[in-house]
């Protein structure tokens, strides 16, 4: 009799715990490297020309060159889901004509110059599914130095008749010119 009650108690405890766990796992926590959206608009009220959706990892005491950005290998340019760039009109990306549309942005980081890649295989995770055959354009991007940024950041800077897309993390800045046609 005692054993039976004990068994029932244990079983109900297990069911209860399992239930709580399933419920808790139902919805995702906030990401440690959250996504962000950055738009480039010609002025504040004009429709967007470029939109970037990207994950923002943080340094958290690490060395970005040693632990976070690979040298000479493909990088997802962010965190989690691959970074997506949308051009609302045709553009010239580092000298190459690119049609309006959405692309995944990858990079091959190097010491003095990065290669930035637009690829048409969308909605992928990280750079694990990268395939060169889907490349649309490759552009060279200049590396420079500036004040440190804790979180990986993508921004835009207007410069004369074009706009610079700037990738910034720690003291590193990587700049690629984009002309909106």
């Amino acid at each position: 009799m005692k054993k039976e009650i004990f068994n029932i108690a244990i079983t109900s405890c297990l069911i209860f715990l399992l239930n709580v766990q399933i419920q808790a796992q139902e919805f995702n926590e906030l990401d440690k490297s959250p996504h962000d959206i950055v738009y480039f608009r010609e002025n504040k009220i004009s429709p967007p020309s470029i939109k970037v959706l990207y994950g923002r990892p943080q340094i958290k005491g690490r060395d970005i060159n040693k632990n976070l950005i690979p040298n000479g290998k493909i990088w997802r340019v962010g965190a989690n889901e691959a970074t997506e760039v949308k051009f609302y009109t045709d553009v010239t990306f580092g000298g190459k004509k690119v049609k309006a549309g959405s692309y995944v942005l990858y990079a091959i980081p190097q010491e003095k110059e990065w290669i930035l890649i637009l690829n048409s295989n969308l909605d992928v995770w990280g750079s694990y599914e990268y395939e060169e055959k889907y490349d649309i354009a490759r552009a060279k991007a200049k590396v420079s130095k500036a004040e440190p940024l804790e979180a990986f950041t993508i921004g835009f800077k207007e410069k004369g008749n074009h706009v610079n897309m700037v990738l910034g993390w720690d003291t590193k800045r990587v700049t690629v010119p984009i002309r909106i046609n």
Binding site: L30, H35, Q58, D123
Partner: protein, 186 residues
Amino acid sequence: MKKVYFAAVIFCVMFLTDKSIAQSFDHLDNNPIDIAYLRKSNISKPLIKVIYGRPQKHEENVFGDQIPYGEIWRTGANEATEVRFFNDMKFGNKLVKAGTYILHTIPGEKEWTIILNSNTDTWGAFFYDQSKDVLRIKVPALKAKELDIFSIAFKRSFKRTYMVLAWDSTRINIPLETQGEILAEI
């Protein structure tokens, strides 16, 4: 002496310019963006993609206090929540064509109005334009365990697939179907 003055001015200008560069980079958002996909399996192409901001509960009741009843809500934070359908689908009881829409809602105590609107790339619900509505459906508000962070997820229950809006103790389950077939295998 003039040279020193000149150098100081140049330095100041450089410093100011530098600051403007620093400001062109955004800080991490308190209500970060998240992405939710509906896929038939982990490796298949997505059927639906949702991009939404995730605000946190900071009042006793989210709905009725933090988010008023009866008013249009951006259904997230910051940029309006965006839903992309990769196929034509049935959303609630209405058909929606493949494409990208923004999702707005009007929360109610017992029932919510769910709106898909074609005015994409807008901020919040401030630019809401009813003439760009693509569909409106009504969905009952259900109760469940409290959740601090607003979440959008896809759930399967009794062989049906739902898009779930979840915050505090409120759950809104929007039934989904694709090409007449119920998404039973997800």
